[in-house]
Symmetry: C2
Subunit: 500 residues, 2 copies
């Protein structure tokens, strides 16, 4: 019965004079934010869009991103945040898949622009749009209407649009607010990119509570620390790669971070040493680890007071199911794992996606028996603490971005010299994991420049963060199982050391 | 997608070893609570009940009440909590209206017992029931299924069963947890009777969070203070009448109440002096005022840090809409009131009832245009603070219990001597409001004992708290409007002083 129109109305009625967004020199009150969001929604509809039509957004974090996320779904349209790090060809694939009719962007879209009926540039075209105020009655909104499509890579190599309904995002707002003890006093530093659901979804909690969001166009550890100091930031949730950079920056030149009550991290595995280092750099701040997925509108589990787990077996756990979420670890035969036993992580709750945009098969595969089958492997202790141990999906998390091996392999295979290719994640101090490729070529094709040529080939069609950091070239076939499947586990084991 | 089965599963998986309930000498862990609740549900179904069948409960607060509230809805049945203060005739009316097939009770039900196929006495019959463990697969549960019927009086004089669905109670749990900043560390003293939704609904939040509930069979100020001291109670939400008694008791003999972080009150108007007195008696505790209704599964608005409003115009406000709830003050013509203008209080949200049990007309009257029409009159300031100024419904709140005037008037009219009767609320130091009747009789029927005889007549058919504390007898007709309607406002004005 609630939609994203509700937190917006709530904010405009109750928090009108409170500061909603701080973006550089610009501060917007909730009154202004709600007015701008509502004008954006109305003028987009004035372009002739129909209920449910998709509007894509390719931009850095900022107040206009916040406005778009508030205004587009509340107008009955569907927002499609685009990953700024993708290659043009990838963006075009996503634009076409989504069927978006409008693009809002802060950059020259190039060939991407041809996918849309309307390209609105930020800030100029956007601001002109907001000057018009078409009076249009609201469309009715249903809670199960799709509010946003967040694209993720897929095991098939093709990006899939995760449909998040109004209800999903409303549920996540309550779950997140409870899990993080959010209140009207919170000042949230929005660092991870807002094109990821974890970067933008906290906004819904803040709208209801009247908290504040501080934006930064893109990640920069020094700027983050300065903003914490300057604006009294209370909550900050970087991905582990960012966390490490911030810890290093704070140790090199300490800023006043006494306002920071909660420093969370999520999105990929983290080493115990990183947590200990974070605790040393932020000794008075509570650390917390979260686990989630785009398919669950972000939050699934949380480990609050992670610093208290230092030295115990609990360190490394991403915590327990947040209120409203049910997490199970299942055997392949469908039975529930015993405590400590590794199985697939399944998730149920009101924040779980109804499925992938126009992908009935992928939807049926991921959503079965009322649970989202995450593809992640984990174990749970008797008290319900979840430990993520591996990803069934053959996915690499590098710098907080998901990279599906198959997507990179597909591109490698397109190169005429490549006869076999396997892409795996290898531990990397800076990125958590680095993308690593092993390819087999004919002896005649092998030369010293081949690896660089293959990387350049990849860069033409996939995002830079997906391009292998290293490509091993060999003339022997890759190890395979009986049915001819490349044994990635063996490849990973050789490259991660005996313990992995 | 969530039902009351979810918090129960969550608690049994994540909080099994934590203490859930303290009831006198007995402490139940969440593991025990969930097991007992699940056995209760299964054995009740084993009696041959069908999905959705009603099970009534007439008992003092205690761990078995908590078990029943957990076990009955989760089993796919519907709990009907009965007000222990009602007269037998009223209970029989409600039992019949609900169609409940089973009664769980800690007392001799007398004639009431004949309304049910099964009467299960507590503790003996109940404990015997829990020893059986029929293995039955769970019924499917829908979020829009009715989980509970809470009866309230009505403007027609007949009690109405407010249907609260699983979804209503789940939504309220999240809203309440956020509005009260509830956490796993909270210890909740359950003092208001659990047959009121405000007395039992917080349990759902606690199940999810792993907090603790301390029960007391019925209200006693000394016992409350002792329990706060003994069990480190952190949250306590008495009705104003109880609050006044507790404040007096604490001032007479101070107990260690340092654990108490939140002392809320709700359910009826409160004088500023009472709030100031509460602040003096509990100087280190946050005070909070709440507003709600049975029809909204309790919480609608809250004013946190009420003690900070002492001396300001805000004192007397019941606060602002909690996240997830939309509150509007409307003119009779359907337009929204300007700030400060008095109108009817309307409420929308996922915790709002779908209607009254088998009362399509009353449902259509109360639920229109997506809003619950509370019948309460209020005004809102520009920042959204709600002030309840009167009740359109002609309802008196005495000691936290709602008394509908018409119900008392109907009983008075049944007495042969009464020709006209009007029942109003008059300010009362102890009860907030006292039930006050003005009746017109023929001069021949008037004698010194008549008022007492009328009270005795009332006691035969309505609850003691509804019986007028004072009955004024006159031989002149009551003041009336043109169409012959008794002018209660005039009667109230004369008896409340010029300011009212």
């Amino acid at each position: 019965m609630l939609t994203l129109r509700d937190p917006l109305e709530h904010a405009s009625r109750l928090h009108a004079t409170r500061t909603a967004v701080i973006d550089g020199e610009r501060a917007l009150s909730y009154g202004e934010l709600c007015m701008r969001a509502s004008r954006l929604g109305a003028t987009l509809r004035g372009l002739g869009l129909a209920r449910g039509d998709r509007v894509a957004l390719l931009a850095w974090n900022g107040h206009r991103y916040v406005e778009a996320f508030c205004g587009i779904p509340a107008a009955g349209l569907c927002i499609v945040p685009l990953n700024t790090r993708l290659a043009p060809a990838e963006l075009i694939t996503i634009a076409r898949d989504s069927g978006a009719r409008v693009l809002l962007t802060d950059r020259d879209p190039g060939a991407l622009g041809e996918c849309f009926e309307h390209v609105i540039t930020m800030p100029d075209g956007y601001e002109t749009l907001l000057e018009r105020i078409p009076a249009m009655p609201n469309w009715p909104l249903e809670e199960d209407q799709v509010a946003a499509l967040f694209y993720t890579g897929g095991t098939t190599g093709l990006p899939k649009g995760v449909m998040l309904t109004h209800r999903n995002l409303v549920a996540n707002a309550f779950q997140k607010a409870l899990a993080c003890s959010l209140s009207a006093n919170d000042v949230f530093l929005a660092t991870p990119a807002m094109f990821h659901v974890a970067g933008i979804a906290p906004l819904v909690s803040l709208l209801w509570l009247g908290g504040r969001i501080v934006t930064l166009p893109s990640f920069d550890p020094e700027a983050c620390l300065d903003l914490i100091d300057q604006h009294g930031v209370t909550v900050f949730m970087p991905v582990p790669t960012m966390l490490a950079a911030i810890v290093a920056a704070q140790r090199a030149r300490p800023r006043d971070v006494s306002s920071l009550r909660l420093l969370g991290h999520a999105g990929s595995p983290i080493a115990s040493e990183e947590i200990e280092a974070a605790h040393r750099a932020f000794p008075d701040t509570e650390l917390a680890q979260f686990y989630g997925a785009t398919e669950t509108a972000s939050l699934v589990t949380c480990l609050r007071d992670e610093q208290k787990a230092i030295g115990s077996e609990l360190l490394g756990s991403c915590g327990r199911a947040a209120p409203g979420l049910s997490v199970r670890v299942m055997r392949e035969d469908g039975g529930e794992c015993a405590p400590g036993e590794v199985g697939e992580i399944l998730i149920r709750g009101a924040s779980v996606t109804p499925g992938y945009w126009q992908r009935p098969e992928a939807t049926a595969e991921a959503l079965r028996d009322g649970y989202y089958h995450s593809g992640d492997l984990g174990r749970m202790d008797a008290a319900g603490h979840l430990f993520v141990v591996d990803r069934k999906k053959d996915m690499i998390i590098s710098g907080g971005e998901n990279v599906y091996s198959v997507e990179v392999e597909d591109v490698l295979y397109q190169h005429p010299a490549v006869r076999e290719a396997a892409v795996i994640g290898v531990p990397d101090e800076r990125w958590g994991e680095a993308v690593h490729a092993i390819v087999m070529v004919d002896p005649a094709d092998r030369d010293d420049q081949l690896a660089e040529r293959l990387k350049a080939h990849c860069r033409e069609s996939i995002a830079g963060f997906k391009v292998p950091k290293r490509i091993e070239i060999q003339t022997e076939p890759l190890p395979k199982s009986g049915p001819g499947k490349i044994l990635k586990r063996a490849l990973r084991g050789q490259r991660r050391g005996a313990g992995q």
